[in-house]
Symmetry: C2
Subunit: 212 residues, 2 copies
DNA sequence: CATTTTGGCTTACACTTGTAAGCCCAATAT
DNA sequence: ATATTGGGCTTACAAGTGTAAGCCAAAATG
């Protein structure tokens, strides 16, 4: 890669990083101004346009990057789970760790999910869809769940996890531990419930007998 | 009430209504400026301060009002459910109707829940807590669930419903119908799962036998 | 080597924003 | 009847915003 392209990539990164760094509990992406980001990245405001058409384009880049990063981390966590132990428990733990070390990556997904730009919402939804889809296949394979039930189950699980993540962002570590426990309970509910619905479908007879 | 107090209340309402009316999929409360709201309410920008200290105060008012309105509507719906039929199904239907007729009331809760102001997040959380608490008691009483399990169950249910609500805002009616169906399935999962966990606690023995 | 491209810069402009200061006059209080 | 209060207004200002126009030097191209 030429010297020029290298430099360009470098300041592009500086912009993305600058934006990520300015995110916090009090500062959402949509409240960031182009000038602020440029300032933090140490470039002139108008130079911003050499890299992104506008703030929207930068934001979408961040959503994509963030979602990807999150998924990679979660996948690593799942490998750890394969070594043994409760899948649910370990996944929740991984998630909480990821959250703690990359709060801003999670923040942009969380916030823009209910944000003001349709493009953003769609982008976040796509990322979440990835999570759901991966998990759905896992559930189908490992628990022999029917495809559509697996889908609903996975969706419910992901929603609950995301939601807990949002709550966790506002907490100190001690409370997060408790939150994690409650989350695990809720996830178990969904899993148990999905099993029950599956059985009911597979064999209405048997289920009727068992519930007596 | 004196003529003066009456007038004051009237323009105060005009401000709140103006703000609610400006909300949309593309426009969140935090993106509204004081001047815009004043303009829409037909008063001078600086007159705003005769009623609210700043936009934050107006916003919190809206959250409280909105949450209250939502709860009242849902309670009416629950009465309808008492006439018979699936509680879950009827509640979901009510919710979807409420959503359709008052999208902006729901929007402000949804958006500010993950918003940028701690005060807002807390206010929304308080409103949601009301929902959870009401539902939790209902579950405890009607299904004989233990208090802590009831709480987790209610929380999961409310989260799933809220989440579906957010998705519904972006949909046309036909798709909402499908969404509602899937939501019902998920809610049933939670209910079934909570039952299972309850049984396991009440009588680990029996449950072991049944699952064979 | 000569030319073109490009990523940075500076300057400039038109807007919007929040809010301070202070006037006015009708409703209230004395 | 007179004095006070208070909800509206106008004017004004400093600050910040997005972005257009155009210059410059160094890298890339031929």
């Amino acid at each position: 890669m030429g010297v020029r392209a290298q430099q360009k990539e470098k300041t592009r990164r500086a912009l993305v990083d600058a934006a990520f760094n300015q995110l916090s509990a009090e500062r959402s992406f949509s409240s960031l101004s182009l000038r602020e980001v440029a300032r933090e990245a140490n470039i002139a405001p108008t130079s911003f346009y050499r890299h992104f058409k506008d703030m929207n384009e930068l934001g979408l880049t961040m959503v994509d990057e963030g979602g990807l990063a999150l998924r990679q981390m979660m996948r690593k966590g799942r490998q750890r789970a394969e070594a043994g132990g409760s899948v649910i428990r370990i996944s929740v733990e991984t998630f909480m760790e990821v959250l703690e070390s990359n709060p801003n990556v999670f923040r942009i997904l969380l916030h823009e999910r209910s944000g003001t730009s349709a493009a953003f919402r769609a982008a976040v939804e796509r990322e979440i869809e990835h999570f759901i889809s991966e998990l759905s296949h896992y559930v189908e394979d490992s628990a022999g769940r029917s495809p559509d039930l697996a889908r609903e189950q996975a969706e419910a699980l992901v929603i609950l996890v995301f939601n807990a993540g949002a709550a966790a962002l506002d907490m100190k570590r001690s409370d997060r531990k408790l939150l994690a426990d409650r989350l695990v309970t809720q996830l178990r509910m969904v899993v148990k419930g999905a099993e029950a619905l599956q059985q009911k479908r597979d064999n209405p007879e048997l289920r009727a007998r068992l519930s007596r």
